[in-house]
């Protein structure tokens, strides 16, 4: 039986896809219901071990979702094995939460979406809100019986952009750069005495608007209400909610958070995350780059 949406928070009802969010209170009440699986996904690989929501599983973005060799995600067989070993079925309602305003939780949700897992939600406010509210944490290991999750073909096209597609999209599809201001302007990789972050050039992709990802989050790590998000992405940046858009950051994780905002909270029809992001673009030979605070223009010669 499908698990109903969390209708307790009037803020959720304003979003385009309100069923994609649940509150901490909802998780406290339903987190261990049959058909519900709670997953913690953090930046810090040890945080789950220090204490997690009772019954929650751990999925790590590095060691579980990314391949160790090729820069790519699991394939259908590997994803089926991951889910089966965790005891998750294709019909389960997955609720992801994590540290840093759900930054990594949103990334995990995005990867689950690549495999078309139907019902994946975020717990609004993430780990921080749960902890701040003084809710229960446990170090008890969660064990679930192994399941037989089906092998499904990963479908990148709707929500993932590759570099050639971004090049092609320049001047056609709006881009959102969700990194910090110094990364956008190109200042960060020139900081004296600090080791480079493995990127040869600083700056941003021409035409990309700068909207650091965390602007979508409120002080308490929850998502800002719809009107506040519209004020940023539509009024300030000028995105058209009927158009497609591509978001990127450094390795595709912060932009997964913005992807969630545009796709599920504001209901843009086609939002893609360019997960190659700056670590690919800033190392590529002969791709156009703009440094400084201006968005810059799409190279006319390319058209």
């Amino acid at each position: 039986m499908p698990i109903g949406a969390d209708t307790t928070d009037p803020k959720f009802a304003e979003y385009a896809h309100p069923q994609r969010l649940v509150s901490t209170a909802w998780v406290a009440e339903h987190g261990q219901d049959a058909g519900v699986v709670v997953i913690e996904s953090d930046e810090d690989v040890l945080l789950y071990e220090t204490g997690h929501i009772p019954g929650a599983l751990k999925v790590d973005w590095h060691t579980d979702l990314n391949l160790p060799d090729v820069r790519d995600y699991l394939d259908g067989a590997q994803f089926a094995e991951l889910m089966s070993s965790k005891g998750i079925t294709r019909e389960d309602t997955i609720v992801v939460y994590g540290d840093k305003s759900n930054w990594w939780a949103a990334y995990a949700l995005w990867v689950f979406t690549l495999f078309g897992h139907q019902d994946v939600r975020l717990m609004d406010g993430g780990r921080d809100k749960w902890v701040t509210e003084g809710r229960e944490l446990t170090t008890e290991t969660t064990t679930r019986e192994r399941t037989d999750y089906p092998q499904v073909q990963r479908d990148d096209a709707p929500i993932r952009a590759y570099q050639p597609q971004v090049l092609e999209a320049l001047g056609q599809v709006p881009l959102i750069d969700v990194r910090s201001e110094p990364e956008y302007t190109g200042q960060r990789t020139h900081m004296a005495e600090y080791p480079q972050e493995g990127v040869l050039r600083g700056g941003h992709i021409p035409t990309a608007a700068s909207v650091p990802w965390a602007r979508a989050a409120a002080e308490d790590s929850t998502f800002k209400p719809r009107a506040a998000l519209e004020a940023i992405y539509q009024e300030e940046v000028g995105l058209d909610p009927t158009q497609e858009v591509i978001a990127y950051c450094r390795i595709g994780e912060r932009s997964a958070h913005t992807w969630f905002v545009l796709q599920h909270l504001l209901g843009f029809p086609q939002v893609r995350n360019y997960d190659g992001s700056w670590t690919e673009w800033g190392n590529s030979v002969r791709v156009p780059i703009v440094s400084g605070p201006e968005r810059g223009e799409a190279p006319g010669a390319a058209r």
């Binding site: 930046e43 810090d44 690989v45 071990e49 600090y194 080791p195």
Partner: protein, 158 residues
């Protein structure tokens, strides 16, 4: 799993490397967690002056560190032991764990012992695949800064 060659390491560091290799892969994260809990708190004189510490910006979470000569001596020599101090929030257990390993292994080594540590030291703990290479960068950045700070400590001039 065979322990790595540790003959080029000071005894305190060699012992740590061997400890990490001695536990099975699935328990190694737990060992790192134990280290994170054991990171000593800053002495009061730094607790009141966090600006005296240098931030390691490569770490995913805020990590501050500083070094000084043993007994807070104003100057020292290559053979003088060095003391290390770290600060990282409880919500950053991995960062704290890395700092704690370095504290356990390096605190009290002489300036020249620290200078001579192999550049790949942080790769020796068999953690790289477990926590991912990207995260290990925070630990090597810490080591880099420790070394630089030790090199810049005022020397005794005769």
């Amino acid at each position: 799993m065979s322990a790595q060659d540790t003959t080029d390491l000071p005894a305190s560091v060699a012992e740590l490397v061997e400890d990490f290799h001695a536990v099975p892969q699935q328990d190694r994260l737990q060992l790192l967690l134990e280290f994170s809990r054991q990171l000593p708190a800053l002495p009061e004189r730094y607790g009141e002056h966090p600006e005296a510490l240098e931030q390691v910006v490569e770490c995913q979470s805020p990590l501050f560190l500083t070094v000084e000569w043993e007994d807070q001596a104003a100057t020292g020599e290559d053979s003088t032991p060095v003391r290390l101090f770290f600060s990282a929030p409880m919500e950053a257990p991995t960062t704290r764990g890395f700092a704690s390993i370095l504290h356990e292994g390096l605190d009290g080594l002489t300036a020249s012992q620290i200078a001579e540590l192999p550049a790949d030291l942080t790769e020796r703990f068999a953690l790289t695949q477990l926590v991912s290479p990207l995260r290990m960068r925070g630990m090597s950045a810490m080591l880099e800064r420790i070394r630089r700070q030790v090199a810049q400590l005022p020397r005794t001039t005769d």
